[in-house]
Symmetry: C2
Subunit: 508 residues, 2 copies
């Protein structure tokens, strides 16, 4: 039967509670089932259908959608709507859910898997890892936490295990206030937000201060996790090279040219370079920041891990203008599994960040906040820091001696005064990834330099972490490194002789 | 001296390492200090300056910016650039940092403070709170956790306190896999993500699946925290009334009209209504979801808290098509301070969510993940649930009896078969907020109905939580409620007599 004729028979009851599109769809479904509209029949375009029935275009669209949902027609984009035939409603197997298509678009970048791998890279028992930047598990004060728990659990009120203020467990905020006074940061409790590691502090700062396409400045090289957070949020990243001196003229040029909103910096024992920003440069940076209203995000993860003289005052301690946001963490000093850090900033900022944190997780977990409070209140933290400083200083010196012994003239580095890392320059002709490929074969991992650059530089640098391995392992690791370097160096020399070139461009 | 003349004397050294704009700015600064360009002098517009000097417009802009930074000129938008006079560089006090202006724009909505207040509302010791939806602190298995800790700490490897996979502590993922098999959800470990409470699960789902202006469906009324997360992300919220039956025709109409991406639903012992979705409706909903590729986010916070017969299978247990994301939590069954929940979904989704979670906090805290694992492995959870079910059932019945006794004919409710809440309809003429204002005076708080609606409805409803108070307190609370209701009712009657109206519109 002619499609126009069939459609002209459609009866629509406008006063019915059933929507018009459903009435028409039901009518057409019947005709399809009666085979009056056989499989393959092309139905009129939506616009024409609307005209023929005297209904809106939306209704026409909904009629075809309904029939498509019922499996009675097939809407082919760019071609038309065709009767599929008389099927019982939805007996055909449905296609699988296309999850990946449902996801919000996101930046897929090679870096994003690096940090993840670093977190779980300790699988091969023969492997010595100088990769993950963590304290040594054998130095975790596990026994102390057990004793603290048993000593204090009697005083713990069940209410302390219910919901807490998002800003943090009040006794912990007080304890951190006191901790900071010792570091020259004298601010009230409401200037402190307890976070799930300094990672969360940085995430929140980014959420509250940066919109997509806004400018942010980072050092180059710098902490991978920070680069990832900024890239992920769609910010535009400007880089200032972290040399012995921070080139403030480049920074000022950026400030004039791009009006960036914030500068993420690790002033002391920087990750990965180990550099310490001088007092003069700290003061100059703060002046510049105040003049241009540039927010400074100071990551002080390593400040307490000094092995020679006491560290310089933090930017926050020097900050007279309230322009510095300070990120602290216990992941490097106690252990990462606490997942507790903190953020210090003006109370108006803390309030806004807490509002944002509420969406993320309501508040940090109570047990760790409470345990940490007792740890700080009893003055154990102070003694613990002295113990780990002594041990890490020893390891730093072992690594330095081993490099000088096993890798003479092959690795260039500056002795770090604190923190966890040696930042080493490779011999000309050897790239960090080719080196890693080789050392992997004999059981040695580290982080290639590229991981610390937002722009694929650094392929002739490597980061070696000395905190997680004991004396013997450290020596063995550097021995393996030296052996690999020597053999790669020989290859490079041979290639250079063959090609008569000595450009020094990494070729392996 | 004429400004044109002065500018014509400007000497620019293009081969100097100093940028041109700084050279010109220094030259002009000198002239200003010599008072050759006195305070108030209007300088030429940037375009003209660029022409006069034969430099780019950007250089001209930078010259004025530099002078402005040095406090020597004042750039008045829409007017021009004026010499301010001879000031020494930046000796004037800098203005305070305008933090609020630096913040990314965000939705300020009255709801956002409600949840926050609920979290910290237990301050007045004479007050009886039926507000916060929490387990009773006196039922927290604190002693058990202490015993578990002492029993198992010897087996804890320090490595367990280092960094963990973002997806969760592997033994906990296994334990939850087993827990779910008992609930008819038979999925492998890689379908599970450990989250900081189900709050974080919802936050992550929202981040990964919803872009601003995309449509999401929620029940009306529903959990405040979910409304907040969706509003905050800029999604468009469609609501389906949660009546005894879920009106699936409205849902289908939305699906056709708006193609929403996800539907957030609490099928069992819904918050706040206490309703349970029937088996037939669960099946119909799943069919609809599969047909339209609508992702179902099932919040099952209360599923284990049943007081009569065993609950119906969860949507996830019935889900044949892999369209359901399941949110579980230990906050309602054990205690909120653990901050541990989980999310079950296809592994492709878990991977994507974990990537996102890595930015937030790297992973959940190890101590609680480990303690919880021992709690589940030793089968203590099962016994704990039986204990709390018995106790909460008793409290539910006490609340029901108290309402019938102290508030006869004033509160309408359906007896909840599980969960924590009575959802009560107020007498005509009384609003929830006016009632709360009155009960507050005599020491009683609860949550007004509006808090559960994204659109300011519900002002004649209240939610009473029976889980956190013991027998005596519950009875006393409802007594106070009845007394207040009676006196308000009398006022309404008097007003009705005076105005001769009996419209039933809330007036108090």
């Amino acid at each position: 039967m002619d499609i126009t004729k069939i459609l002209s028979q459609t009866k629509v009851n406008k006063s019915s509670s059933q929507p018009i599109y459903l009435q028409v769809a039901a009518f057409l479904a019947e005709r399809i089932k009666e085979n009056l509209l056989p499989a393959g029949t092309k139905l009129p375009p939506e616009r024409l259908l609307a005209e023929m029935l005297g209904v809106s275009r939306t209704t026409a669209i909904n009629i075809y959608r309904q029939l498509a949902q019922d499996g009675l027609v097939n809407i082919k984009v760019g071609s038309g709507t065709y009767v599929t035939g008389c099927l019982e409603k939805a007996e055909t197997p449905l296609p699988p859910i296309p999850w990946e298509q449902l996801f919000v678009p996101h930046l897929k970048n090679p870096l994003s898997s690096i940090l993840k791998d670093l977190l779980t890279d300790c699988s091969n028992p023969n492997n010595i890892s100088l990769a993950a930047g963590m304290p040594d598990p054998s130095l975790y004060p596990l026994k102390t936490f057990e004793q603290l728990l048993n000593k204090h659990i009697g005083n713990l009120s069940p209410l302390d295990l219910g919901h807490l203020p998002t800003e943090g467990y009040p006794p912990l905020r007080r304890a951190i206030t006191n901790l900071q006074i010792g570091k020259g940061i004298d601010v009230p409790e409401d200037n402190i937000l307890i976070t799930a590691g300094s990672q969360q502090g940085l995430y929140l700062v980014n959420k509250v201060l940066l919109e997509p396409k806004e400018y942010v400045i980072v050092e180059e090289p710098t902490y991978i996790g920070a680069i990832q957070i900024f890239q992920h949020s769609g910010a535009r990243i400007l880089t200032v090279p972290r040399l012995t001196e921070l080139p403030l003229s480049i920074l000022e040029d950026y400030l004039i040219r791009y009006r960036p909103k914030l500068f993420y910096i690790i002033p002391s024992f920087q990750n990965p370079t180990g550099h310490v920003l001088s007092l003069q440069q700290r003061q100059d940076l703060l002046k510049l920041a105040a003049r241009y209203q540039l927010v400074i995000v100071e990551d002080d993860a390593y400040g307490e891990l000094y092995y020679d003289q006491k560290p310089l005052p933090s930017l926050k301690a020097l900050d007279q203008h309230g322009i510095v946001i300070y990120l602290g963490t216990f992941s490097k000093t106690i252990f990462p599994g606490l997942r507790i850090g903190w953020l210090t900033g003006p109370s108006v900022l803390i309030k806004r960040l807490a509002q944002e944190k509420q969406y993320l997780d309501l508040h940090c977990n109570n047990i760790c906040q409470w345990l940490l409070t007792t740890f700080l209140q009893e003055g154990i933290f102070h003694n613990h820091l002295q113990t780990v400083r002594q041990e890490y200083k020893k390891r730093r010196d072992i690594m330095a001696n081993s490099i000088d012994r096993f890798c003479p003239d092959m690795l260039t580095y500056t002795l770090p005064q604190g923190g966890f890392y040696f930042w080493c320059q490779l011999p000309a002709g050897i790239t960090s990834t080719s080196l890693l490929r080789e050392t992997n074969k004999i059981g040695l991992t580290f982080v290639p330099g590229e991981a610390f650059y937002p722009n694929n530089l650094g392929n002739n640098k490597i980061r070696l972490c000395f905190s997680t391995q004991g004396e013997e392992q450290l020596t063995e690791a550097i021995k393996r490194l030296g052996k690999t370097l020597k053999s790669l160096n020989k290859k490079v020399e041979n290639l250079n002789i063959q090609s008569n070139s000595s450009s020094g461009i990494p070729i392996i």
